[in-house]
Amino acid sequence: MKALIRLAWEALFLSEEPYAEMRESSNSALRGLGIVALVALAVALAGLAGTALEWATTPNMDDIQQVVWEGIQKMPWYQELQSEREFREGVQQQYELWWRIFPQLFAPNIASAALRIILLPLGLTLTWFLYGVVAHLFARLLGGQGGLGQMLGCTALAVAPQLLNLATFLPYVVVGGVVGTWTILCRYVALKTCHRLTWGRALAATLFPYVALALLVSSFACLGSVATALIFGGGTSQ
């Protein structure tokens, strides 16, 4: 386990050595899986600790909802129109609907954080595997020399930037978009080292899976729009 943590830590700094070491390893895919699971578990546990602290320092959401509602009722626009029953009921309905969504987005939720202990390793493993396979195909098309097992081992090291999320064991810490950008850089180094590609080809092979995903999502969105238009559009033309 110590060796895996060392590899992930070194991989974070974009040096080619840890990636080369992984490529030469006899069971690189399995070691890669170990790294992904270990990092995801550590991050989820840190997140749980941070969320618990945030929950303990935040007022009860039901109390906040009540305070805001009472505040709205004292606002000039509400008082001007409160004599209309329809308006009163409509505002209350909208407010309650909004409060069903709002806490899910912003309020600290220990149950969701605990669920992440299972979901994050699963999600990261799935992403790692899918990205690894797709990027491997592109890398091979571009003249790459690595095997699939080696590729999975190397791209597993690209989860290293997730280690930054360990900082969330402290509540209110925002790590932000740096993890995503850093992951792309790590994947570039992983592909370049694993397949011994030139920088241009490695870059293309790194970005192709993202482009493919974007195209796939756009196609589904277009298909969805067309289907919706066909289903609902037909009913209005008379």
Partner: protein
């Protein structure tokens, strides 16, 4: 640490040898990241302490209300100034004040709600969270931009690897230590501007050294992503404007 401080000093003075030695090191990125994190934390240290002290001070709700009231008066004064330049209806001012008062009432009532841990613990944790988030936002901005600079540098014949290039350009952060005085009116903004210009100059120099090419090429590689980004934003805005005009 002493070595890192010496490097920071040499970088500020544009000592060529220090740039070359730093870029050639295997741990250039580690050292560069250490500098970025250190500078971000140092720059945020004084505001962090001010916030913590302010949050731990036993301040009555009435005093907080008073503080907010003063802020509102400032806003009303700025509205009065606006009235001289624009046609601001008096009703607008009255309504804005009423809504701000209502918002303040809601805010102070939420502030008074009980929490599971004592209130000061929560406030200090919030300050600490905001303080520790500073390096991450600085890292995000720097890496996000550098990735494009790296691409342009490679197209211009640059030889640096991603690790060398990021390790070298991380030095740009050193002058930003001046942001420690950001809270001082006027002086803070001036020093901030000095830090930005100084930082860009260091960035260009570090890029040239890491890629082993001329300062001219380094300048082009540094500026091109910003120009392309600016042009794209401009195009987007023009598109929105044309769409708005057409749909009229």
């Amino acid at each position: 640490m002493k070595e890192l401080l010496q490097l920071a000093w040499d970088v500020l003075l544009f000592r060529h040898e220090s740039y070359v030695q730093h870029a050639a090191r295997a741990d250039a990125l580690k050292r560069g990241l250490a500098l970025v994190v250190l500078v971000a934390l140092l720059a945020g240290l004084i505001p962090f302490f001010i916030n913590v002290v302010g949050d731990l001070r036993p301040m009555a709700i009435e005093a907080r209300r008073q503080e907010a009231e003063e802020g509102m008066q400032e806003f009303t004064q700025s509205l009065a100034a606006m009235r001289q330049l624009f046609d601001v209806p008096p009703e607008f001012e009255r309504q804005m004040t009423a809504y701000m008062r209502a918002g303040m009432r809601i805010g102070s009532r939420i502030e008074a709600l009980p929490t599971r841990l004592p209130k000061p613990v929560g406030r200090v944790l919030q300050d600490l969270g905001a303080f520790l988030s500073l390096p991450f936002s600085r890292l995000a901005g720097w890496i996000g931009y550098s990735i494009w600079v790296l691409l342009v540098a490679k197209l211009l014949g640059g030889r640096a690897t991603a690790s060398q290039m990021l390790g070298a350009t991380a030095l740009y952060a050193v002058p930003h230590v001046l942001e420690i005085l950001d809270f001082v009116p006027c002086l803070g903004a001036t020093l901030g501007l000095v830090a930005v210009v100084w930082g860009i100059a260091i960035y260009v120099k570090a890029l040239a050294v890491a890629n082993d090419f001329s300062m001219g090429r380094a300048t082009v590689a540094t500026v091109v992503p910003a120009l392309i980004g600016g042009a794209l934003i401009l195009l987007g805005l023009m598109g929105v404007l044309i769409l708005a005009l057409v749909s009229r």
